[in-house]
Symmetry: C2
Subunit: 394 residues, 2 copies
């Protein structure tokens, strides 16, 4: 809870060592692409070499065996059976697969929110261009007062023409943890399908996907599950699984998600095998310990930012919509000093060696910090100090 965490969490022992990032830059943006523990990188390299040693035996005949362990580890993380989890390259591919599988009629409506991830908005525009789908972006003005308010706004937007509701589990520019269960419930009560874009969710918030009950749920593992790039998944409900195919159809078309998603043409299966190692890396700190550390560090950093006077909160004060990222609105003074959010972001990087994303959303300027196991309190203080210096200088 932001306003009740004046003290940052105790750093996890050793959690700032053994990463591939360059320590000369303060990386407060774990959220965009993740950062990779050396141990996981080395595991992926071992797996790739293991496959290359006998590619026909291991990849051609043995791929299902290779994927068993990572899929079982992932199934435990997600709270869903392995045979309804398809491994993907990224959440973008998960979205693409689901949109491709729907037999759209012109005028079918997709409801999403004004905080939707930019790439997903583009994917929906493609459906509009191909099939005449109508996109309804529910406005979520800042600050968002509560999860209940968000659910109410989305629910009010549903109509008889709504074919699909597509919402983020954790919004990207605003870093809000959305009460997706209430949205699923409201949609299903009206017979409307729901897809959750959990790009940021696995490893950030506890997941029980089968209990959640969304028709489809996609998520990345290279962010908060510390897996190599190229690791993601698509989960389907029991009702949807047999009609859920990857965008790249290969030998096992129609044979069920396990086989179909397990072979989407020749790819780097070694990265997928390292999902096991990534989850083990996280679990080695203790059950839920990394997730809890990150959430508490983000809460502390959020309070620090608000206290600095440079930032306005955009999320409920009780912290109920925050996970391991915190996004704040920049005050009007910054817009007079910098031509664009990109210019501000570049100034923070060049002045303070702090890598942190500044984003514009429907006219608001936002800054988002991430709290990963490798982050430490002084890094957020560096951010605030850098902004103080920029404020004075300009």
């Amino acid at each position: 809870m932001g306003h009740t965490t004046p003290v940052p969490p105790t750093p996890l022992p050793g959690s700032d060592r053994g990463w591939l990032w360059d320590p000369s830059v303060v990386l407060l943006n774990h959220g965009s692409f993740g950062s990779l523990p050396l141990a996981v990188a080395e595991a992926a390299e071992r797996h790739r070499r293991y496959i290359e040693a006998q590619p026909i035996a291991r990849l051609g005949r043995g791929v299902a065996d290779l994927l068993r362990a990572p899929k079982e580890a992932l199934a435990r993380l997600l709270g869903a059976p392995p045979d309804r989890i398809g491994l993907m390259e990224n959440a973008t591919a998960g979205i693409a697969a689901v949109l491709r599988n729907i037999a759209w009629q012109p005028g079918d409506e997709v409801v999403t929110t004004s905080h939707v991830y930019g790439a997903v908005r583009q994917a929906l525009l493609r459906e509009r261009d191909l099939h005449g789908v109508v996109i309804h972006e529910v406005p979520l003005p800042l600050p968002v007062p509560s999860g209940a308010d968000l659910v109410e706004r989305v629910t009010t937007a549903l109509s008889t023409r709504t074919r699909l509701v597509l919402v983020d589990h954790v919004t990207s520019p605003t870093a809000l943890v959305v009460p997706v269960k209430a949205i699923v419930k409201a949609c299903h009560a009206r017979g409307i399908a729901v897809m959750i874009d959990g790009a940021h969710a696995p490893g950030m918030v506890p997941l029980e996907l089968d209990a959640l009950g969304a028709d489809w749920y996609t998520g990345n593992l290279h962010k908060w599950a510390y897996a190599p790039k190229g690791c993601a998944f698509l989960h389907a409900s029991a009702e949807r699984a047999s009609q859920t195919h990857p965008a790249s159809i290969s030998h096992h078309y129609g044979a069920g998600m396990d086989l179909e998603f397990g072979w989407q043409g020749t790819r780097d299966v070694g990265a997928w095998m390292a999902i096991t190692d990534a989850i083990a890396w996280m679990d080695a700190f203790g059950d839920g310990v990394v997730m809890d550390h990150n959430r508490r560090l983000a809460a502390w950093a959020h309070q620090l930012m608000v206290d600095s006077g440079f930032f306005e909160p955009i999320s409920p004060a009780d912290g109920s919509m925050r996970g391991s990222m915190a996004s704040c609105r920049l005050g009007a003074r910054w817009r007079t000093r910098f031509d664009s959010v990109d210019a501000l972001q570049a100034a923070i990087l060049s002045s303070g060696s702090v890598e942190v994303p500044c984003m514009e959303l429907h006219g608001d300027w936002l800054l988002r910090v991430s709290a990963a196991p490798h982050n430490r309190p002084w890094q957020y203080e560096r951010l605030v100090d850098t902004m103080r210096a920029l404020d004075r200088a300009s």
Copy 2:
């Protein structure tokens, strides 16, 4: 030319060292998944670590810079400008992107051949299921007498309902190099679009894609261009480029192939960067030297197989349809001795430690050898000796 090559080519110096494959197994199946030079694997590992050191700067802001060198190297290999080449995960994804981009009408016909790759057949079945597309597989009985005969059969199958012709540049089960230029010409004369599945072609046969003029051409780089798994491309003609999108739509939808394909969500860009290293590895032997070596070794191996009496040729005797693989039909005796091609393949592996694919195609049993830089003549002799022993034993 098969019947005029009694002598195998001189091995390329050092070309059997520095690979990741396990020397305890004779790998006569480079064609399925390729095999990776250690130098290219190490380059990919370096590139991945380079990205991970500063993920936001290098991947987020710098991805176009990272992809410039591999795309330029690839453009030279393919004979096409970089801005109409989209990097893909594999040829299966290239097929998926193109099929997705066509606004099918029920009854639209796709013409392909009976040697079409199994996964592509499945991808076409998906279009049938979604859009009522009719699939016309032109029978190509064995042996195939000539390229001209193949072109004639495909051309004869075209009708006013033909929307797309989709043919392999190098067929997978039968390893035939198809005269695709003549097919493109015949189709375009009738206003029919052509996609070439060049899964096996890059590095096996010289390519001049812009001169070829197919509407779309996809190919893998992990096979005969010695790149890591996850490296492939889709090329579009100048007329088709602006309407050609990847299956995974992301931020740059509609901004042109270079940007759109260059960002299909977060992925392992390090593998794509290693395309530069893979092509350099190949070129270090001399311009076209690896390609020529492989083709001559395959021709010699083909002759050895035919001379053994266990195999019947399925391609023209002048070698005009063979590249760096050779596929032969197995005589009837093998079908009385083994329950299935899989059982025969397993017996060859267990008796002779030779990994070679045995495939069934429309009732015929086929065996296909590959000739890669790491292969040596004794390995094909081992195959023939193994089959002789199996023949005597059973």
